[in-house]
Structures are given as C-alpha cells and as structure tokens.
Amino acid sequence: MIRWVLQGILRDKNRSLFPFLVVTAGVALVVFTFGFMEGIFMGMIDSTANLDTGHLRLVNKPFYDEEHLNPMDRALTGQNETRNWLIANSDPKIKWAPRIRWGAIADVPDENGETRSQTPIIGMALDLLSPDSRELERLDLKNSLLDGRLPEAAKEILLGYELARTLDVELEQTITLLGQTFDGGLATDNYTVVGFVRFGVFAMDKKMALIDLADAQDSFYMEDTVTDWLGFLPSHVAYKDYKNFKVALQSRLSDLILHPPKDWAKDDIPIVMSVLDQRNLDNLVNVFEMIKKIFVGIIVLLMVLVLWNAGLLNGIHRYGELGLLLAMGQTHAKLVWLLGIEAFAIGVLGALAGSLIGGGVVYYLQEVGINMGDAFAQTGMMMNDVMRGRVTAESFLLGAGPGIIASVLGSLFASVALFQRSEANLFRELEAG
C-alpha cells in the first residue's frame, strides 16, 4: 500500500508538486538561515575565544576579579606544573595555551631620544616564536598582517594598525614599553616594531599590541608565570557543549587547590570559565536561541498554513477518488492515515531536497565565506571579517523535522473535512464526476 501511495504521489503532480515545493522552500530557508546564523555566531565566539578568552579559561580568581586593572601580581606561577596538571586533568580535545594580559605605556622617541608620541596600550603575550605553537594560526596573524612581518626574534612587537597610526611609528623602529612588574615595580623595555596588524576589531586595532610570551615574562619579571591559561576546542564542537567541558574540569579543580604548584600563593584560587561566561556572551546565546525558536515557529506556522490550504485544494482535486475509496470500504480513519502517509512521504522528499539546497548554500559559505571586512571595520564586535556558514546536524534537524511535521499537520487539518463527509451521497457525488 505504501508503494501504491508513493506511485500516486510521483505520478500526480497536482497532488505532490506544490506541497513538495512548499516543504522544500521552507526547509531550505531554515537550513540556510540556521547554518548562516550558526556560522556567524560561532565565528564570533571563535574570534572572541582565539583573541581573548579561549573556549575555556583557567585564571586566578583574584586576578579575574580585578582584571580591568591588570593586577599582574595575581597571575599564576608554576607554569609548567599547571600545564602538566591541565593536560592530565582535562579532555584531550582541549589544547592549552598560556597567555599574559599586560598593560603599558608605549613611548616612541624622536631622533634625539625624546618622546615624540606616547599612548597607553593593552597587550597580549603569547607564544609567537616556538615552532610548534598554534597561536599564529589561532589569531590568523599571517593574514591579518597589513605591513611588515611576524616576530622572528626576541623583543619584537606587533601593533594594531590604528595604534601604529596614532603613535606615528614606522616599521623596524624601536619603542619603549613602560609598565608594571609582577612585584609592583616599574618595568621598562625596548621593543622593535616589526608589523602592523588588523585584528578586525576596532577597539583592538586601536589599542592592542602583541609580544612573545617569553619576552613578556622577561620584561615584567614574570618568570614561570602567566595570567591566563586558555583552552581551545576543535571547531566542530558546538558552543552548547562548552559547558560540559567546563563542568568536567571544574570537578577536578579541588585537586589542584589541594595540591597546587609549589610557587602558588596561599590565596590563589583557580577558576574555570567558558567563553560564554565572559564578555556577556551568555546573554547573547540566550537571545540567539530565542530567535532560532521564534524563527522556526514562524516558518513552521507558515508552512502548516500553506500546506493546510494545499491539502484542502488536494481534497477538492481528489474529491471523487476519496469518495470512491469510502464507497469501496475504506474507513475514514484509514483514509486520513493514507493521506498522512502521503503527506509524510512528500514531507520527507521535500525535506531532503530542502536540506540539499539549504545545506549546499551553507556549505559553500562555510568553505568560501563572504568578506564583510569593510562593513565591520568600525565596529567593536569581535567578528571575523569573512562571514562563514556552518553546516551542523542541528540546522538539518531544525529544518527537516518541522518540514515533515508541517506537511503531515497541514494534511491532517485538511483531512478533518473527510470525517464530516457522509457516505449517503456518494453515489450521486461519484456520478457527478
């Protein structure tokens, strides 16, 4: 009987084409929109994680509480011990990287050694020189370099291109950083400007400088000490799963607190956060999830309404056929079930086609992307210049599932009329054609 129904669907274009097109369009729209939204959102999360917070972050609570002041004296010592503990106690998918957040005044001298320009800057120190470091890749520094080169030796610095413009500094020029040491003293050190970087975030382009981790430890007297341990997850891990990784690591922290590295201060309290716990991203996620639900709800409602009407038209188109089935002994319930099967089959076919179309476009956007660098140049959002889609199982489920449900629901609503149809007039109706 199922084959019979499928044959009817395939042969009778009036019966199947319009509902198929509606489901295909609806599913394609949902899969594409979700894939694109998910891609943009994940791109934003990944940018924030790579530039600033990691997907997970282990930090000393006293440092985090006064992070805006960069309290270097509350950084975590015992770098190697901490690294070993993290590797031993966290999911192997997580790759850990040490970083130092620092702040300083950048002083640019003139040809006489007098201050020509000066500005406060924020900085990040990360492993730029080790051959096995993935930090260059994470920050996409090769592609972000507008001019100059990447650091190749000690005491070389990269500046945000807007910062370089403000300081009126040139490549290979030496600047002086005036900052605070780990123990509260004055730190001064000279760095050679080797490159200008466009981070894609206006605030960072205006204020940010990057130096090698070892240089920072040397300049700020932070031997064996870092302010942050950032954990990075593979891109296929969904943001909804970050919390699981965080909770798993949190459950092991008591062990680290009980058996801390020997150089830790007594009041050091390591805490773990995910990227969503920072920069107000959690609220953004909630809004994003709500938008997704509203969007799916609207699309499903529209599809149900259109398919309901399509079902009613189908009922009129097949009035004689359905009457014949009733006369031949088909029960009303079985007839509705058959129409439901038809609608399900059309829904599945439409969902497959819609997923292919929507998924294809998202896949293209995932691989190629759209460059929106100019549009985002003046924003403060941590977003990639290239907007990419993201092919996820969830977007297919959210597209195909409601597509099939809408098809069946629309058909079932339209089938209500079948239950009200009396057999008493079937002969006359069928004779009327």
Partner: protein, 235 residues
C-alpha cells in the same frame, strides 16, 4: 430460502428545506444469491436510494435491510465499511477509475485495500484483466482507454475480490448502443462465471433484455416485480 439481500418494509424520508420528501415507501424485496436484476424507473423514483441502502451507504428511516441475515442498521460505521470492502463491488456510470494508475493497478486496488500483498494476488488480477478482455491494455491509464474499455476496467475492479454482490448504478448510461450491449453481455457472462449477484439501477431499456428480474419503481414504490420464466419472457 437464504436470500443474499432482504429489504423489509424500508422507508426513506429526506428533509428538503422545511419539508419531508419520502424517497421510498415501505418497500419489501428479497434478492437471491447470483441474481442478475435491475431497478428500473425514472429519475427520482428511488433507484439510487435503494442501492445506497443495500450498499450500507445510508440508513433507512424505518424498516430494515439485511445482508445474509445481518441487519445493516445494527452495524457501526467501521463495520459497514468492512461490509462493503468484503462483500460488495461497485460499478458507476462515470467509471470512477483512478486516473494516475494503470488498468492493472486500478483492478489491483480493492485487493490492496483489503490488506492483500500484490505478489499474492497478481495472478488473480491478471486473470480478471483477461476475463474482461483487456490484457493488451494492461499498462494503459484510463485516459488512454475508450468509454467501453473504462467500464470493463470498472467491472473487473468490482469483481476481482470475488464479492457476492455487485451494485451497478446506470452502468450503460455513458456508453453507445454497441458498447452497452458488449458490457451487458460481459456482465451476464461474469455473473454466471463468478456467481455474484448483480443489481443495476437503470432507465436504459437495453438492460431489460439481459436481466433475469426487473423491479419497477415509481415515486418510491414498487410498481412491478417481473422475473424471466423458462421460456425467456417476463412474467
């Protein structure tokens, strides 16, 4: 005698606007198994209403219709559907074939409806196609057939599940004289071959030549009930 259908003082009243219209006035009839008979009368005489009641598609206002001693009025909607599915075949004036399916598939359909698998009933369908002389048209769709051929498909569809009763509402009304005779001849042969009772509603005089019994209806009453005697004439 075990009648296949017994109609006992059946009346049917329809409400038309504010007035009652009596379509049937306490009719009583017995129909024997294997009958080949017709209800004859002008439009509005109650022929189709009577077929409706026998087919379990409608309920009488008073009186009872029995199929092999089962009172149809006591069956619920689902049981009536099963009654039609198992015991009845329908033939319509306008054929009512399913346009997107082939000759073979149209004839197969009642068997699928009854829960059979195609592989189990394929032979029966092919034999039935052969019986109505359409073996060379088996893959064609209704739109590719003539009116006479379509009615042959409808007859095969009605008979394929070997029902005990066939209800045919004006089966020759849309056919020319030659096709009408061929169809009636075919139904008479199949009536003998399959032993199914055929009840026609008609006002086509050609049908009279073929049936063994003719019940005349006028204004919802039986005016005559003639049976063919041994010499072939009605009495």
């Amino acid at each position: 005698m075990n009648n296949i259908v017994s109609i006992d003082k059946v009346a049917k009243v329809f409400r038309v606007g504010d007035e009652d219209f009596t379509a049937l006035h306490e009719i009583s009839l017995d129909i024997e198994p294997g009958a080949f008979m017709s209800f004859v009368g002008p439009s509005g005489s109650g022929k189709t209403t009577l077929l409706n009641l026998i087919g379990g598609l409608d309920q009488p206002t008073s009186g009872s219709v029995f199929f092999k001693n089962v009172k149809l009025g006591e069956l619920n909607r689902t049981a009536l559907a099963e009654y039609r599915r198992k015991n009845l075949g329908f033939i319509f004036q306008t054929y009512n074939l399913l346009p997107v399916y082939s000759v073979y598939e149209n004839i197969l359909f009642p068997l699928l409806l009854d829960g059979n698998k195609e592989s189990a009933v394929r032979r029966s369908v092919l034999d039935m196609v052969d019986s109505v002389g359409l073996s060379d048209q088996i893959k064609k769709r209704p739109s590719q057939l003539s009116g006479g051929q379509c009615q042959r498909v409808a007859i095969a569809r009605a008979l394929v599940k070997k029902p005990e009763l066939i209800l045919a509402d004006e089966p020759t009304a849309n056919l020319d004289a030659e096709n009408s005779f061929q169809i009636l001849e075919l139904m008479r042969e199949l009536n003998k071959q399959f032993k199914a009772a055929f009840i026609f509603s008609t006002h086509d005089e050609k049908v009279t030549k073929y049936v063994n019994r003719e019940v005349g209806l006028e204004d919802g009453r039986v005016c005559w009930d003639k049976r063919r005697n041994g010499s072939g004439s009605f009495e």
